[in-house]
Amino acid sequence: MSCSPFDLRDYYLKELTDPQQRQVEFHVRDCPACREELDRLRLTEAALLSLREEEIPQRIAFVSDPVFEPSRAARWWGAFWGSPARLGFAGASLVSAALLFSALTRPAGTSTGGGLPAAEVDRRIQAAVAASEVRQTARTTQLVHELVERVNTEQYARQVAENDARIARQDAYKAEIASGDYMTLASNQGGSR
């Protein structure tokens, strides 16, 4: 029986904690019996390790045999996510399916005017058209009125200008008569005829 504080085999196989290892080391220095036991363990291990490891006679190799590959579903799933074209096609199919589902499941008869009957819709349309026609007629009348006013104003201004010009000519004629230049005036008038 060993007198070591801990099992010498644990010590030799390095299964003790560091402090425990040191305690055994310290003990073995002064214990010939434990030193001899450790020597026997070393010899035993050395003998065991003389039996060397052998090379494997035939390499173990795994070829790409289908049995070792991922399942068909796993491969399809991997290929699916790896293909943008397929992904785009799937997205388009999903949207198409959603549209089709929506069209097929929408109740009939509620497709006009958010639930209003067709007659009411017609009536509202006619009322809106009539109101629009009234607004348009009033606008046209206003434009005509403004046009007439503008024409009248321009005509009045022209008449005023003509009157002013005639008055000016009469004033000039009277002034010539008053200055005695009658003959000149007469000859001018006769020459001009």
């Binding site: 085999r9 644990d10 196989l13 299964e15 026997r40 363990l41 010899l43 035993t44 291990e45 050395a46 003998a47 065991l48 390790l49 003389s50 039996l51 490891e53 052998e54 090379e55 494997i56 006679p57 035939q58 390499r59 173990i60 190799a61 795994f62 070829v63 790409s64 070792f68 590959e69 991922p70 796993a74 491969r75 991997g78």
Partner: protein, 188 residues
């Protein structure tokens, strides 16, 4: 120092995603150790090679069940242990590994009945190992040849650490009795 560009854990993750090449690389790193473990336990090359094939096949099939890729080693040896002892159970009616005649293994590891270790020490070691029970021999193999800690051995063998130590120390006592007087002659 051996530099590994790709760690085992990376290879395991890639293999889980279906990369057979990654798994092949993983196999090449572990096949020698697993083969030698099985060779020590079964003491037969053909059995060891067949079992090694089965071990790596089962490991691949169950790789996704490995929770911690960092524990690949003990997990792989656990499969190897199960495969080896499954073989022992199958052959029990004809060859009970616990009751092997010591004289039948005196010639060391055999292939087709012929000895492959001519050196005296190797014969003595092989003979001494042959006298151990499979459990004891496996404990010696995992500790001395494979360098596992007690905790890892307990995980591989699915038993308490105390059982592991009991098997190993019983085996070491037997081996010490056999080999300690012989080793100064052969090892020096």
């Amino acid at each position: 120092m051996i530099f590994r560009a790709v760690e085992d854990t990376d290879l395991i993750r890639q293999a889980c995603r279906g990369s057979v090449e990654s798994y092949n690389l993983l196999v090449s790193r572990w096949e020698k150790r697993v083969y030698n473990y099985l060779l020590r336990v079964t003491r037969n090359r053909e059995d060891a090679l067949d079992l090694a094939q089965d071990v790596f096949l089962k490991a691949y099939q169950n790789l996704r069940k490995l929770d911690d890729p960092g524990r690949f080693g003990p997990w792989l040896y656990r499969i190897a242990h199960n495969e080896a002892f499954s073989l022992f159970r199958k052959r029990k009616p004809e060859v009970d590994a616990d009751s092997v005649d010591p004289g039948a293994t005196d010639t060391g590891i055999t292939v087709g009945g012929s000895s492959v270790f001519p050196i005296e020490l190797s014969l003595a070691v092989s003979s001494a190992l042959g006298r151990l029970s499979p459990d004891q021999r496996e404990a010696v193999t995992l500790k001395i040849y494979q360098g596992f800690k007690f905790e890892e051995m307990a995980e591989i063998l699915a038993c308490p650490v105390s059982t592991v130590k009991s098997r190993l120390y019983t085996a070491l006592e037997l081996l010490k009795r056999e080999l300690a007087p012989l080793s100064p002659r052969g090892a020096s």
